[in-house]
């Protein structure tokens, strides 16, 4: 990808503050103006690995506290493992070293759905923020597919929370 000419993303969006305000807070778009810029592919992959590891921990915590969550958690974990494989492919494609073990939160993660939802949201946003740094159509297309799947996982958790509070 090339550097943008003219106004920067933040210029564009700060000019159109009303634009973001018109979108519901559930939309991811308002966070576009505040998006993190990754300097390197490695930095973005390391962050994605770290956030995915947090989501896995949260999923395990939810499974440990809710027997009815077992099937759903298993499916989610399968998806996240597949995404980890994609990121591994990206490291090989760009000759990047394997990820170091991510620094994970201390023990005692609450098995709450809100925390799980937040961790999936963080992961989804990090995927979106990562796309520009890859500069490679195949990499972007593959990571975008995983990003969309994380968005769906997050929405499933939203619906679960809604059903519990209804």
């Amino acid at each position: 990808m090339t550097a943008d000419h003219g106004a920067t993303r933040r210029d564009l969006l700060s000019r159109g503050a009303a634009l973001a305000a018109g979108v519901t807070t559930i939309s991811a778009l308002p966070r576009f103006a505040l998006a993190r810029d990754y300097a390197t592919r490695r930095e973005s992959l390391d962050e994605l690995d770290r956030l995915a590891a947090v989501s896995v921990l949260r999923l395990e915590a939810v499974r440990g506290s809710r027997a009815e969550a077992d099937l759903l958690v298993s499916r989610f974990l399968t998806a996240l493992r597949k995404h980890a494989d994609t990121r591994g492919d990206m490291r090989r494609r760009f000759a990047l070293p394997r990820s170091v073990d991510p620094a994970l939160p201390p023990e005692g993660i609450d098995p709450d759905l809100a925390g799980l939802r937040q961790s999936l949201d963080d992961l989804m946003i990090a995927y979106a923020e990562s796309l520009p740094v890859f500069g490679d159509a195949t990499a972007v297309a593959r990571l975008a597919v995983d990003m969309v799947e994380v968005s769906k996982l997050r929405t499933v958790i939203d619906l679960w929370v809604e059903s519990e509070t209804a």
């Binding site: 990808m1 090339t2 550097a3 943008d4 003219g6 106004a7 920067t8 993303r9 564009l12 969006l13 000019r15 159109g16 634009l19 973001a20 018109g22 979108v23 519901t24 559930i26 939309s27 991811a28 778009l29 308002p30 966070r31 576009f32 998006a35 759903l72 499916r75 989610f76 989804m124 995927y127 979106a128 923020e129 796309l131 520009p132 159509a137 195949t138 990499a139 972007v140 297309a141 975008a144 597919v145 990003m147 969309v148 799947e149 994380v150 968005s151 769906k152 996982l153 997050r154 929405t155 499933v156 939203d158 619906l159």
Partner: protein, 178 residues
């Protein structure tokens, strides 16, 4: 779903029609239809993709506006339809702004085929699902072809919204969501 041999599946045909209405280029249409392997990485391609995506957003906004104004969204789902229409309007405005920044006048909304149904029900939700699925599919197909960072980033933030909308409508229809 037959999509080879020149026979377009309903989703691709839907995307094609929406992109055509928005004045999408022949190259983008060819790419969406799978007849072109890759698009040239240049400013013209980004603008062509922006215009095609803008057409889909206009289509979605028109469809939601029609459903909401005629009270065709089933009870209990109206708030979602309002939310999703607002999200699509945000997507539209972002793309219009990016086009303006590049010195290009954005295409205005086109005439959207009204929803055939006269009463609220699953058929209306299926129609809303179809535009969300088409939008997600088009964005995922085109996203790797985007050259500029701002637009690529915005497309990422937009497509995760489309995925959310699609998941909600699938759940409402009792379809598998995961």
């Amino acid at each position: 779903m037959p999509e080879r041999g020149g026979i377009l599946g309903p989703r691709r045909e839907f995307i094609r029609r929406a992109a055509l209405r928005a004045g999408a280029s022949i190259a983008v249409l060819g790419f969406l239809e799978g007849r072109v392997e890759a698009l040239a990485k240049n400013e013209e391609t980004d603008i062509a993709i922006l215009n095609a995506a803008l057409g889909l957003e206009h289509e979605a906004i028109g469809l939601y506006a029609d459903a909401l104004s005629r009270d065709l969204v089933p009870g209990g789902l109206r708030d979602y339809a309002v939310e999703f229409k607002g999200a699509h309007e945000g997507h539209r405005d972002t793309q219009v702004e990016i086009l303006r920044e590049r010195g290009v006048d954005a295409a205005g909304p086109h005439k959207v085929d009204p929803i055939r149904e006269a009463t609220a029900g699953d058929a209306v939700v299926r129609r809303l699902l179809s535009i969300e699925a088409a939008a997600e599919s088009a964005y995922l197909r085109l996203i790797g072809q985007i050259r500029t960072n701002d637009y690529l980033l915005s497309a990422g933030f937009i497509v995760v919204d489309e995925a959310r909308h699609q998941t909600i409508w699938r759940r409402a229809l009792g379809l598998s969501i995961y």
